[in-house]
Subunit: 503 residues, 2 copies
């Protein structure tokens, strides 16, 4: 790229969802660029991509910088603009869009340019959609993961780092880490868990933990508090680790796709950036989950294991039951509450407690702390002994929350409605997708107090009029939306004990 001009700069209060540079109509004509396209902005050869916004808010010798961009360019006295028709590495991406493989050095360039902001979302979309049709090869996937790790911050530890990560897609799952991490950390192993906020679900682990403590820290802070408490549960998004991933995820949401090679890249890149070397991957499968069949789950496991081997990561996979929500709560505050209750009472819904102990148990087996087959029991004992709760309080404290918080202190949304069983019978299904959509309609995850509390689970016998679930919403209209979705999706079904009489 060659620079075409040098400009004075000023900060303009404008947010178009990406770094933006505001230029006058005269300047945009002279540069021959289109409004809405990307341009390089910088000084002394250090360049950032920005969206071109055209306005007479600036004169012909000045460019306006959006707040974020102004910070990145704070050391520039004046700035230069570098127009380009396509991003520098586009020739490489061009091949991939057509389904041809890319080489290691090409992935490095591509990811570098994506992180620099040279790519538009349409171009990122093309990369993602190509994976639906022509999956990344095992080589390509390794190249992509390494390039993603190298393009961002890496937090280093001088000891073995453990972690557990669920591929998600099952409502109520965000609270599992709130048991696993304290159980593992209580044993002395190091488990600095980074997690995401909700993408399409009603709660991500970061959203749920945020009900109890701060989750946004700098990489240095995470390093220090993790060593102090042996475990943390923080948001990965603020750490600058594998930053291309945030861009991929944003576009995936808009396309409602989640190509499995990209999912594997996303998870493993974030873990490698935290120096994790022993990892348990939880793949919940079942109706309405991200992975519906066991075959599919096994296929995905192979992909994870093969990549782990290439990347020098010791990994075990847990295929878990994901055919209905985990535990009783869906939504950040409700899930934080259920987690706290289990810590305090040392017991709770089997779908929740057994899952958490199983995952923690696998980590203990990997660490050599216990023999194979003994991990689950070991984890349960830590939970039952209260050591996990003590550790959880410690983690909440290092994350600047109140360790003395009680379940009933957690505020829930004020508008509530309880659905009751329309007849005597058995709860024959609780639909993941319907429950997720309804909890989101109620306001989760942005409104942390919103969500759904189940009073029953699949297979339970209920009497007519017995409460099935309660919706918590921030407004009456959101409450109505949630009820409508529950009805439309038949999210919970009660059937007579005799399901069918054959002639």
């Amino acid at each position: 790229m060659g620079s075409d001009a040098r400009f004075k700069k000023k900060t303009i209060d404008i947010d178009v969802g990406f770094d933006a540079v505001v230029v006058s109509p005269q300047v945009v004509r002279r540069l021959g660029v289109s409004p809405g396209s990307r341009i390089g902005v910088g000084c002394h050869g250090s360049l950032h991509g920005a969206i071109v916004v055209v306005s007479r808010l600036v004169g012909d010798d000045v460019v306006g910088l959006s707040t974020g961009l102004a910070e990145k360019l704070s050391s520039c006295d004046s700035v230069e603009l570098y127009p380009f028709e396509l991003p520098p590495s586009f020739a490489q991406l061009r091949k991939r869009i057509r389904g041809e493989p890319m080489e290691e050095v090409e992935y490095k360039k591509l990811i570098g340019d994506i992180v620099s902001g040279f790519y538009e979302e349409s171009q990122i979309a093309a990369f993602l959609v190509s994976q639906l049709y022509k999956e990344l090869s095992m080589d390509e996937l390794s190249y992509l993961i390494r390039a993603m790790v190298e393009s961002g911050v890496v937090v280093k530890f001088s000891e073995t780092v453990y972690d557990v990560h669920s591929i998600g897609g099952v409502p109520g799952n965000s609270k599992v880490a709130l048991l696993v991490v304290p159980i593992v950390a209580a044993s002395g192993l190091l488990i600095p868990k980074t997690s995401s906020r909700a993408i399409t679900s009603p709660a991500g682990t970061a959203d749920t933990m945020e009900v109890l403590a701060r989750v946004t820290f700098s990489p240095e802070e995470v390093h220090d508090i993790a060593l102090k408490a042996r475990g943390v549960i923080v948001w990965g998004g603020a750490l600058g680790m594998a930053p291309a991933d945030d861009i991929f995820v944003r576009v995936e949401r808009k396309l409602d796709i989640d190509p499995r090679t990209q999912m594997v890249a996303s998870i493993l890149a974030k873990k490698l950036a935290m120096s994790v070397s022993r990892l348990v991957i939880d793949i919940p499968f079942g109706r309405g989950a991200k992975v519906e069949s066991e075959d599919e789950a096994v296929g995905l496991s192979s992909l994870f294991l093969a990549q782990a081997k290439r990347l020098g990561l010791v990994m075990r996979i847990a295929l878990t039951y994901g055919g209905e929500p985990i535990g009783y709560s869906i939504g950040p505050a409700l899930e934080a509450r259920e987690a706290l209750e289990v810590h305090i009472k040392h017991e709770g819904a089997p779908s929740y407690v057994e899952k958490a102990c199983s995952l923690a148990g696998i980590i203990f087996e990997m660490s050599g702390a216990v023999a194979r087959g003994k991990g689950y029991q070991y984890a349960c004992e830590i939970l039952k002994s209260g050591k996990a709760y003590a550790k959880f309080r410690e983690i909440i404290e290092v994350q600047e929350g109140d360790p003395d918080i009680k379940p009933e202190d957690i505020k829930l949304a004020p508008h509530r409605l309880t659905l009751e069983a329309p007849r005597d019978g058995i709860v024959s299904s609780i639909d993941n997708r319907g429950i997720s959509l309804a909890a989101r309609a109620a306001g989760a995850p942005d409104d942390k107090g919103a969500g759904i509390l189940l009073h029953t689970k699949t297979g339970h016998r209920v009497r007519k009029g017995q409460p099935l679930l309660t919706i918590y919403a921030s407004t009456e209209s959101r409450l109505r939306d949630a009820v409508r979705i529950l009805e439309e999706t038949s999210a919970i079904v009660v059937e007579g004990v005799v399901v069918k009489v054959l002639p």
Copy 2:
């Protein structure tokens, strides 16, 4: 979509490449939308999609509208905002992104939403990339074309409408219509040609015609001047015909892809919107052209012919030689000049004149004016008789240009450089792609006077020092860029007469 609020409006001088609505940080939080995403804006149920821009330039009870959007909403006293997570028809597009076919009614919804601005470019990109892997079926292609036509303006005529259209991809081709249209119109047939501006080439027919006359008219104006002169050459982009196409083309440029089903849809939708019922499609093929092999050209022909039949369009295809530039000129002014010279002298480069007479001849044969096999001769006679030039002057006049303009009146770019033959020999190749890139680097098509003038063609014998081509550029640096590209791409090669001596 349900509205979440009503606002006062004001116009804000901002162009982000798409209609935009500027809202305050407080409002964006309340609506739960992200900056950069799309939102519905309107009143009384009439909605337009716009990009969300966040700024304190507006208060909490006001929204700012970009100029174009303000015009669309001029009848609204106040406006409402309608947030949505995904566009209303996204469930349909979701299938297509995964390669499943869409139904007729689904294409209508999709195209309607695209035209309304509810789709982001990333989502359009996914639609286009899916076609690279899973081509539209013949049914889908017809649905898409019809939906594109119905979503915009249709210009109706009460007589048979003829047209000729090249799929493009060969430099120098934009001037062909400047012969064909006058020849056909001189015979009395109606040929209201709409054409595009350059997408990736150094000149579109609209760019070249614009050197001689106005090309931007309203649909009513095009209708009237076409009936007056029997032929016009105007820009299709300003007519509001098949408006989704402009959106597709914009994204195709960013992805550097041109899926053939989308190309067929694009061409046929624009023609149907002009009520064309007899159409000649020119498919140039050869090295460096859009279509490289004859097989590929034949395959594309079948696709065009099958769709034409379904859409009730009488069509003939011309497979033409596209292995080097057409005629001697590349770039709007240079090509307009060559066209004018041929009109005045009644002769010129065979690759140009013979092509134009052939295409016009096919139209004459389709019309029944002459017997099959006699069209070419008939067209040549119209050109040689001066009737075509008289008609061209008439067309220039109804399009508000100067009919008396002479070739030498046309202004060319001031910075010039002539490449000379490095040795005695034969011109063994002139590369389409190298010539195109160099002409664009020189400034074409935005700088109309820029481009390349060939002094020789493939197969011609040249002496050392004899001029091969002249570059016209607007600045010295653009001239240097063009020379560099010509050298890097070996755009013109002179070889000794004896190419190889075998032992």
